[in-house]
Amino acid sequence: MEKVIHFTLNDEPVSCRVDVRKSLLEMLRTDFGLTGTKEGCGVGECGACTVGVDKETVDSCIYLAVWVDGKVVTTIEGVTNPDGTLSDVQDAFVKAGAVQCGFCIPGMVVSSEQFLEDNPDPSREEIRRALSGNMCRCTGYQKIVDAVEIAAEGRKVK
């Protein structure tokens, strides 16, 4: 069973015919070739598949593809600047040395971007809570939290 859906994907209106059995994660990766979004646990526990839907983060592995009909979806590819350069949050992750294996980072960055939009002047504790749905098995999180702090500071200077 397939359904035609219309939604906004990284600022671009798109339409597609999608199998109703697909998760949003599967649709993004296989139908749209947006492989920046990763599959980790597949049950909504690790946050590697985090994307923005109508300005809220969700785990796209346990979110049906048809649910984005009429909505606005942002993936890690939509976070990067249009000219291909890193966004300020991505740049801060590099500066802070927040990336080791890198698998969790697209989800971390999508969560961080949405969080900073909602809360431009966060405390460290608020950052930790905002990223509590994203697991990293390498770093121990300190430098990831540092990165979000750097990005928040950078936006204040602007």
Partner: protein, 289 residues
């Protein structure tokens, strides 16, 4: 891909009734944070059946105060909606605090309070608090509307008072059940996020000059369903807040709970928590912990 046989987006309650009539095997799905996980695990009833999406039905969305100031929460509000809603924060702040402890932000953005209740888990983070507020569930079906007190809704582990065609529309908390109460909720778990409680405890109380006028205690994961502590609550009425009172409340709770061993925690550990969490919650609720 999920092993489901179809998907329909219901636009109204009537749509739900019609779709269920067409195929009684069809399952309602809200935010999907439980249903899709179970589908992936290939649990019986969650594969090989069509799903009916209900999150876009207008009747299930609002949060408002009724004419008699009953707090009414539409079942399809996400945990984030409930946590941040000004009416919930003002009148039932304990519920706002409890749902803020569900999973992580992503789960709270997708998962709904109605789904949390209908999933029937004893560990549901909204449940102990809703029990303490004496929440009433408004359930609609093709045969009409019924109002079920939440304590009667939970029948057993993962088993709630819903027939095919029934849908939870509203969660209601009467003014007399929230006005003047203060409370505290403890989710006792290994991690601060993305975890399920080893044991959870909600306490709501009315206090006058350090004397307990009314106390409500509800545990999650202390029995197959969330469970209120009738003996401890009866004992506490009129008692002064003291270490002895807290200890006695804890002891009496043990008479009403039925904890189990699981990989998360042993029965002994849970029984220990049953005795100490109510006292801790009460002290936290009155601002002395």
């Amino acid at each position: 891909m999920y092993d489901i046989t179809g998907y329909n987006e219901a636009k109204s309650l009537q749509d739900v009734f019609d779709l269920i009539k067409e195929d009684p095997k069809a399952r309602l799905i809200a935010g999907g944070t439980d249903v899709l996980v179970k589908s992936r695990e290939r649990k019986e009833g969650f594969v090989d059946a069509p799903l009916i999406g209900i999150t876009r039905i207008p009747d299930l969305q609002d949060i408002y105060l009724d004419d008699d100031e009953t707090l009414v929460i539409g079942s399809m509000n996400s945990f984030t909606d409930v946590e941040t809603n000004p009416l919930v924060k003002e009148h039932a702040p304990l519920l706002s605090e409890a749902v803020a402890l569900v999973g992580g932000p992503q789960t709270r953005n997708a998962g709904t309070i109605g789904g949390n209740v209908c999933n029937g888990a004893t560990s549901a983070d909204s449940a102990p608090t809703l029990f303490a507020y004496n929440a009433v569930l408004e359930i609609h079906s093709p045969n009409g509307v019924k109002n079920v007190p939440i304590a009667e809704f939970y029948k057993g582990a993962g088993w709630v008072d819903l027939e095919p065609g029934d849908i939870l529309v509203k969660i209601k908390i009467a003014k007399a059940d929230y006005e003047g109460y203060q409370g505290h909720y403890t989710k006792f778990a290994q991690r601060h996020a993305l975890d399920i409680a080893n044991l959870s405890c909600a306490c709501l109380l009315k206090v006058e000059n350090d004397v307990i006028e009314d106390l409500r205690v509800c545990f999650g994961v202390a029995a197959p369903t969330p469970i209120r502590m009738a003996k401890a609550e009866a004992y506490a009425k009129g008692k002064a807040i003291s270490e002895e009172t807290m200890a006695e409340i804890g002891k009496l709770c043990l008479e009403d709970t039925n904890t189990r061993n699981s990989w998360r925690a042993s029965k002994e550990y849970r029984d220990h928590l049953v005795q100490i969490l109510p006292g801790r919650n009460i002290m936290a609720a009155i601002g002395e912990a």
